[in-house]
Amino acid sequence: MMALQVEQLSHSFGGLLALSDVNLAVAPGERLAIIGPNGAGKTTLFNIVTGIFRPSAGRIRLLGQDVTRLPPHRRAQLGLARTFQITTLFPRLTVLDSVLLAEWGLADRCHAVTGRLSYGEQRQVELILALAGAPKVLLLDEPTAGLSPAETASVAEMIRRFSRDTTILLIEHDMDVALELVDRVTVLFQGRVLAEGSKEKIRSDPEVAAIYLGTDDA
């Protein structure tokens, strides 16, 4: 049984086709990166998997169960968690869960209002929050976006320490960060799966290189 399966998923916003016939399968414990340039449909894919959008066509299976029609909170109860690209922490609440936080070295900040934490710290709190429900499948939407190299390193280190019981899908803009953290990569481009496979395969794929280096029509 796959932890997460996306079958023939398509989604359009009005006339704009954001995702077109996307297929994905992630095994339990696996770590998959979804990479691709801006507008490739990565965040749209996450929004459909978590239930924020209903897809125009296709199915989502979570741990073998068809969840395509379930609302977000029901999917979360089945073991799905996510972080957001735009930090949507509760800006006026304090970092409550000091027990969990102690483990991650933020214990001295547990009474700080999250809106006053640094951006890197907010990202860490966001990851801890996503982990708090012990999810089976965790979707991370650009966890290192907008962070300094030092902050990126500490967030990446945190993700590396996550238990292998949690299946992780990671959206990353930065290919180096992504490839370091995962087992396998799917490349999205203009709403389609352009390539998928091992890190080595993706690294040496000329089409992927062309997208990232912008040499396709040069």
Binding site: I52, H73, A76, L80, F84, T88, L89, F90, P91, L129
Partner: protein, 312 residues
């Protein structure tokens, strides 16, 4: 910290119990009205301050409870044990119905739907003269008769009768907002989407909050019609709903005590100013502007700033 808060609450209660001894009967009446509107403002605070739902139709539940109690005690029987629960049941029922419509929308759309629904009730009360007396309202609503040693027709005993409901309401609401349910409401206020993906059925939480707010507004409406002996469509309309919002904002949304204080200030000012001029609504508007400019987190916020304590 906890004992200090408890001490302050006991001190406030002692003051409220002792006050009638030093006040004129007119002032006791004013204080009674403050407590009733305090319950009303706190019920709205559950929506605005905790769940982040800006209702501009909260007078609906207050008014519908007041009309229910008024009609029953005038036309059926002045029986507290029938009329009071009936008022609460109707207020709760109407909020349960309105919530189904209003919670389909968010933000300013929620505000407009609650406003429209409230105005529908106002229209009914205004137009259905044979039942509601229309614009003239329902006069001579009697005070409840209870087997107490002091008749509630006297201002003093009635004040303590209202104070009992005020204390029960503030305790019940405090328990609600400190419960996991209340914490979840605050989470929804701060970030609805995140609560959804954390596994909370956001709609259900908001709906329960909406109905509970209707219930407590009903408590206030019931007490008010007994207090005032009269209810008219103006207790259902937008001006009254807006005044309630102002009480919450003036006192400090999301604090419970703040809105009760805000209600006291508004009742006091209305009483003072109405004696000198007709344009009370204009004054409300000016207060609103001043509060948003100089005390955006209300009176409680000002006090906390002075004391240097961090927000809850």
């Amino acid at each position: 910290m906890k004992t200090r808060i408890a001490m302050r609450c006991v001190a406030a209660l002692v003051v409220l119990i002792a006050l009638p001894a030093v006040l004129s009967s007119y002032q006791v009446g004013l204080l009674t009205k403050m407590l009733i509107f305090g319950i009303f403002a706190m019920s709205l605070d559950l929506l605005l301050g905790y769940a982040g739902l800006p209702s501009l139709g909260h007078a609906a539940y207050f008014g519908v409870a007041a009309y229910t109690v008024g009609l029953l005690s005038l036309r059926v029987a002045n029986n507290f044990w029938l009329d009071f629960p009936a008022g609460l049941a109707v207020a709760t029922g109407v909020s349960a119905l309105f919530g189904l419509f209003a919670l389909r929308a968010r933000g300013s759309y929620f505000l407009m739907i609650t406003l429209a629904l409230g105005q529908v009730l106002w229209g009914i009360a205004f137009g259905w003269r044979s039942l509601t007396g229309g614009d003239d309202g329902l006069p001579s609503v009697p005070r409840p008769r209870l087997p107490l040693p002091w008749p509630l027709t006297d201002g003093g005993p009635f004040y303590y009768f209202v104070l009992a409901f005020f204390v029960i309401s503030i305790l019940a609401l405090s328990v609600i907002v400190r419960s996991p349910f209340g914490r979840a409401l605050v989470g929804i206020r701060e970030s609805e989407r995140r609560m959804e993906v954390l596994g909370y059925d956001v709609w259900r939480y908001k709906y329960v909050a909406f109905v509970l707010a209707g219930l407590f507004a009903g408590v206030a409406g019931n007490l008010f019609v007994y207090f005032n002996g009269f209810v008219s469509p103006s207790y259902l309309n937008i001006v009254f709903s807006a005044a309630a919002l102002l009480m919450v904002i003036l006192g400090g949304a999301g604090t419970l005590v703040g809105p009760a204080l805000g209600a006291a200030v508004i009742v006091f000012l209305e009483n003072m100013i109405s004696a000198y001029m007709e344009r009370w609504v204009l004054v409300l508007g000016v207060i609103y502007v001043l509060v948003t400019l100089f005390a955006p987190s209300g009176l409680v916020g000002l006090v906390r700033q002075r004391l240097g304590s961090h927000p809850a």
